[in-house]
């Protein structure tokens, strides 16, 4: 089930005493109509990927949750996520081992990227497989990865992560000469190595990007990205002096979470509403964004609003840096914004929207490569055109 934010629960209970101090960021008068809107918006086709992101990165932070739980007592969004995911896992639960269950277990860790969870789950498939030939094992693995991919078709990193795992793990010439058991253990070894590489990717990116953050710079970030947070955290730990402008990141307001995290690190933060980007662009030295997926052209698919920020930055000659792990490289090639599988999510406008009015509910947009300066990946600092080079080498 889709839920908005903890402030909604709090306001419903009129429990102002337990309200965390940053609730004031959301105007209280909107919340009453919010409720009506949530009721009005039955989630017809909501992207599971963005739902998870919202659950993990939205304003629902763990400390907020604790407070909200204390306030509400019985209502825990954590259990809500769990119930929705177990409901989705139903088709696979008949079998003794289900890759979806495994995936969902991993996925519950808020710090673990979805693709890494999928990679871990696929490694578990190999481990628990009862296949006796390489062929069987490969077919089993293929089935598992297909079921993972079809579980959420809107997640680019999930699909790309599964594909890359299959490539990385099964494409080893050593398999042809060994007997089955040692080949299988080799596969497990490779799978674990790949899982490890993917897990460490974020650290590598954070290290690589340090050269680009100079003292006294102002960085604009959009939405909440764990990689970008890691980059900024490392920069703060390295005693760099910089200022961050966070966009609000409507509709799930992920920017508030990022500003909250940065404030904890004593980094000077300023919050902007999403439409204030062009207004603030002249005081910005660089734009830093994450990515949901990096496509073959070298462009990125990311949270709605990234494209317009990149356009504004481009027209004002500011560099746009993208931090993205290489498991997000996908063999997709959108030609324009509408040339993608739609990922929808409900948007709350604060007031009831008449049924005649159409609402654009797409959760992401595509930023073409000509508006990006560099991509920080675990493969190194790349220009957008190298992405396709890497993809060709990986897939052909």
């Amino acid at each position: 089930m889709w839920r908005r934010s903890a402030s909604f629960i709090l306001d419903k209970r009129n429990d102002t005493g337990a309200r965390p101090d940053f609730v004031s960021l959301s105007p209280p008068q909107t919340t009453a109509s919010t409720m009506a809107d949530t009721l009005q918006n039955p989630n017809a086709k909501v992207s599971a990927y963005y739902q998870t992101r919202a659950a993990h990165h939205g304003v629902v932070t763990s400390d907020w949750l604790a407070q909200a739980q204390a306030a509400v007592g019985k209502y825990s969004p954590e259990s809500d996520v769990r119930s929705s995911s177990s409901a989705a896992a139903d088709p696979g639960s008949g079998k003794p081992f289900s890759v979806i269950d495994e995936f969902n277990n991993w996925r519950k860790q808020p710090d673990l990227a979805e693709a890494v969870a999928a990679i871990r789950a696929l490694a578990a498939v190999i481990r628990s497989s009862e296949a006796t030939t390489m062929m069987e094992l490969e077919i089993e693995l293929k089935k598992a990865s297909d079921s993972l991919k079809s579980w959420d078709t809107t997640s680019i990193s999930l699909t790309a992560g599964c594909d890359l795992f299959m490539r990385y793990v099964t494409r080893t010439s050593a398999l042809e000469y060994e007997d089955f058991n040692s080949a299988k253990s080799r596969l497990i070894e490779r799978a674990e190595k790949f899982g490890e590489i993917s897990y460490k990717a974020r650290r590598i990116i954070a290290m690589l990007s340090q050269d680009f953050i100079f003292d006294g710079c102002t960085i604009l970030v959009h939405g909440f990205s764990r990689v970008v947070l890691e980059v900024l955290k490392t920069a703060a730990q390295n005693k760099k002096l910089f200022r961050v402008l966070c966009t609000e990141g409507r509709p799930d307001r992920t920017g508030l979470r990022l500003s909250n995290e940065l404030a904890k690190l004593d980094v000077p933060v300023k919050l902007l509403i999403d439409s204030a980007v062009a207004y603030s662009m002249d005081e910005i030295d660089m734009v830093f964004v994450g990515a949901d997926g990096v496509v073959e052209s070298g462009g990125i698919i990311n949270m709605m609003g990234t494209y317009q920020i990149a356009l504004v930055a481009h027209s004002m000659n500011k560099p746009v840096y993208v931090a993205a792990e290489s498991y997000k490289f996908a063999r997709l090639y959108p030609l324009d914004q509408k040339d993608m599988a739609p990922a929808l999510r409900p948007i709350d406008f604060g007031v009831p929207i008449p049924s005649k009015v159409e609402v654009e509910t797409s959760a992401r947009d595509y930023t073409p490569p000509q508006y990006l300066t560099l991509l920080f990946t675990d493969l190194g600092v790349l220009t957008p055109s190298v992405v396709s080079d890497e993809l060709i080498q990986l897939y052909l």
Partner: protein, 326 residues
Amino acid sequence: MHRAVYKVGLQYLAGDITGGNARCIAMLQAFSEAIRDYTTPAEKTLTRDLTAKIGSYVSFLIECRPLSISMGNAIRFLKNRIAKLPLTLSESEAKTSLCLDIDRFINEKIILADRVIVRHASTKIRDGDVLLTYGSSCVVEMLLSHALELGKKFHVVIVDSRPKLEGQSLLRRLVANGLNCTYTHLNAVSYIMHEVTRVFLGASSILSNGTVYSRVGTAAVAMVANAFSVPVLICCEAYKFHERVQLDSICFNELGDPQAVAKVSGRGDVNYLGSLGNKDNLQLLNLMYDATPSEYISMIVTDYGMIPPTSVPVIVREYCRDQLWI
């Protein structure tokens, strides 16, 4: 001179065989036939003598019409195969091996490649699209008929230009297939472009800086499409890629019949430049190809998938190395 090569050369000269793929396939088949009839003269080795023979065939074909880059690639492939023949093979074995290589090249690099390209490119056609194409490219034609078979609903704009008017034959075939078409000349391209959603173009060759070398007029179409932010997709087989870099259309091109620009075919009376016929200070220029810069191109669809124009050197480096192809 072998009769098959002679025949193909004359067909090139007369313009009976046109289009990169058709010319390449005809040439390779003629070579294959010539190799089958070939016997090594006494006191000569097959490897050296056959290479020389192919060389003389090629220079004859150049006499008839300059080679396209794709044909150059195919010839280099064949010569490479001949040079790499193991010395232990008998003459007949060597000949069968070469003929098989040629067949494989035609099959894998042209026919199958086209099918893969069509499959990839058709995913980019949506219902309600208006597709624009220029001139007549056989891959684009296959793509349009495939998309029609898939039941997609789209409209095609065929842009054509004098003097060859190659689009007319394409138009005839598409209309016979039941496609909705609009036919117009290059002059009207800026008018028609604002209702177009995708531009599909063929190419004679793609150079390693992403420049597309194609029928003259393609650059203008791509530029207008770019100005209207309409995505331009180039459908081109990977065997047409070349490691050369070219910045303009003049330094390497093919000259057509200069009179073709002055006259209208079938209308002897329409020759407005007739009186200027032999003036020294008049030059009639009929270029056959032009170079489209890579910034006008959104995507290149090849047998290796859909790639951005910046990735052409990657394909050239990884797959076209030493002309090994297969």
